[in-house]
Amino acid sequence: MSAGACRVQIGVQEAPLAPEALCKSLPVAGAVVTFIGNVRDFNAAAEVAALQLEYYPGMTQRSLQAIAEEAAARWSLCAAQVVHRVGRIAAGEAIVWVGVCAAHRGDAFAACEFIMDALKTRAPFWKKEYGPAGSTWVESRASDISRAARWRLP
């Protein structure tokens, strides 16, 4: 299936994510893989009560669109959808939802994981954590950078 036959949809929103509704919005396909990232209530040592997610209006959407289109070009997909939340997000709430549909599960798993790894290192979002000790910007992680590097084409 060419990238043109793949439904690519991205979104950035302040409203809480509704994973059930998002799952229903996916087309029926042989294999459907979804990813939900939730705010963890701890990070490194500190207890996290909430996050503030900053983004770059315009560039963030372009970046998500480019990542989803790259996935659609690299794997045989029917759909690739990404919705990212911004603004204040409480611990336990979802930050990001990714849904990928394909005829074969290998394509769906690879594309979904690729999208998350690319998003973590390329999409302009910045997390600030709020805990009992005040607020701190989250540092980028070496493990995210090395995970993303696995997908580099020769």
């Binding site: 900053e54 770059y56 930050i95 990001v96 910045w126 600030k128 910007w137 540092e139 980028s140």
Partner: protein
């Protein structure tokens, strides 16, 4: 004119989220713009000296040599930490 944007920790360090600068022929690339901004003294000089900062020109990630023209939107920001 140039529209210059700052995000996240850098925005807080500078106390500035956007700046409209008059474009000049010598501000012809990302490195040149960065040098001009650093000349504003502290906290600009120190904050912009961070090697990890990322630049984008017209919402596409750029490097030091990426050309800049009048009317461009240029952004500087720390490494991303979304998802």
């Amino acid at each position: 004119m140039l529209r210059v944007l700052f995000f996240a920790r850098l925005r807080e360090q500078l106390g500035c989220e956007a700046l409209d600068l008059k474009w000049a022929p010598e501000v012809n690339c990302v490195a040149a713009l960065r040098a001009v901004l650093a000349q504003r003294g502290e906290p600009w000089q120190q904050a912009l000296a961070d090697d990890n900062l990322v630049a984008a020109v017209n919402q596409v990630v750029a490097d030091a040599a990426t050309p800049i023209s009048s009317g461009d939107e240029v952004a500087f920001f720390p490494p991303v930490t979304g998802g």
